[in-house]
């Protein structure tokens, strides 16, 4: 390998990826898989990564596990304004970072309070609803205050995360109303990931 070692940002990228890309990728995928299978249940995700701030290790693990050159990636302004974040993600995944939210298969959102409308992202088509975007939201804590119903939930489940926008329940209701179209959410916070697929119904707890 003739990598230019004088490039310190590249060296730091190399140092902070998955230790074992095959097994760490599998484990991170499994966390995402169970998270979307059991909405609201926080699945542990190994957070051994040290990505550039404000990207959190859990969100970084999800992107490294799921993204590659086939998945255009959108970064919210808080992440986009730090060039090291895009450099880190490009280096480890090869995913093209796009400016138009509608083109993204994955969106990474560090500041959920300021996130765009769900309809700014790909919703999928009636024939191919799988072509919708997956939104990865960074949260600071998993809390309570919401109640979930739907596939993957036995009866009802309590859930909450912070921060989330004040109109979150209304946004999720609108997303659910469009089923089978709509976006799917992965919430990445301290040590874990929770899933809110488009099939879930979110209510006040």
């Amino acid at each position: 390998m003739s990598v230019a070692t004088s490039d310190t940002s590249l060296t730091s990228c190399l140092a902070t990826g998955f230790i074992d890309p095959v097994l760490d990728g599998q484990a991170s995928f499994r966390a995402a898989m169970w998270a979307l299978s059991r909405p609201g249940r926080v699945e542990p995700i190994a957070a051994a990564l040290t990505p550039p701030a404000p990207l959190n290790p859990e969100a970084a693990a999800l992107v490294l596990a799921l993204c590659d050159y086939e998945t255009p990636l959108w970064l919210d302004p808080a992440l986009a304004r730090v060039p090291e974040v895009a450099a880190f993600l490009r280096f480890h995944t090869g995913a093209p970072v796009v400016e138009d939210a509608a083109e993204a298969r994955f969106a990474l959102i560090a500041e959920p309070l300021d996130m765009p409308d769900f309809f700014d992202f790909a919703q999928g088509s009636p024939e191919f609803p799988d072509t919708s975007a997956t939104l990865i939201l960074q949260v600071e804590a998993f809390t309570g205050g919401l109640v979930l119903e739907g596939p993957g939930v036995q009866g009802r489940a309590a859930f909450g995360a912070a921060p989330l926008p004040a109109d979150f329940i209304a946004r999720m209701a609108e997303n659910r109303a469009g089923f089978p179209l709509g976006v799917d959410l992965l919430l990445a916070g301290p040590g874990g990931v929770a899933g809110l697929p488009r099939s879930v119904t979110v209510k006040e707890g």
């Binding site: 995402a32 898989m33 979307l36 799988d130 596939p151």
Partner: protein, 299 residues
Amino acid sequence: MNAHAVGGMPEITYNFAYLDEQTKRMIRRAILKAIAVPGYQVPFAAREMPMPYGWGTGGVQVTAAVLGPKDVLKVIDQGADDTTNAVAIRGFFEKTARVATTTSAVEATVIQTRHRVPETPLAEHQILVYQVPIPEPLRFLEPRETETRQLHALAEYGLMHVKLYEDIARHGHIATTYAYPVEVAGRYVMDPSPIPKFDNPKLDDCPALQLFGAGREKRIYAIPPYTRVRSLDFEDHPFKVQRFAKPCALCAATGVYLDEVILDDKGGRMFVCSDTDYCNGRQVAGHRGEMAAPVGEGA
């Protein structure tokens, strides 16, 4: 394609679970979307696998994409762990992923299956991977993929109901006994793969995650845990599973799916559990059917 040819050479290292990482990521993304839209068939770019299509390459690719080193894998074919197909697939993952394997439905974390759902109730931490030959439940009504996709998009399932009702008119009941169509989470009509309709109720509200892989047709679909799965039927002809006249001849189980076993050329036969792990477990626990070996002679 040469996994078998190089199998005897210890210095050859496989990619974990055979597939390359890019292919696994593509399949994993398809699995996540399949979970988010229960019962919808997600297209994926299926890869050539070192086994023929009839051997469940779709299921194998799904298993390869989910499997981790701590998993315990069980593979069943028509309820049995010891058929050529099941043994080959189990051997494939022992070799390429070095995972532990088992015949126990309780010990397994991932169960790949062809044509049956285990009798042992599944648990929350388990993943059931179905091998699917024909994923499209509307195919026999409409051969064109573009048209069936439209029908699913519009939830236009009237044709399917007409077909089932014609069955009733002709036979007095719905004649379909395998791959009996289901409605998932109140939206998509789905083919549960060629399991006997006896197994359909096990799909409903199941604590485990159910994933379906069709290799030749390149489709993945899913039923999340605790999801409503309803077998299509009519008010005046409700869905019914078949009942067996006698218990299992080996373990005396009732309410399980039985296979007919021919004993001799004079017409002698017996009915035994199709799920061999379940049947063996019951025999070990002391249950004895009318044809079981007397106690002391072993199962």
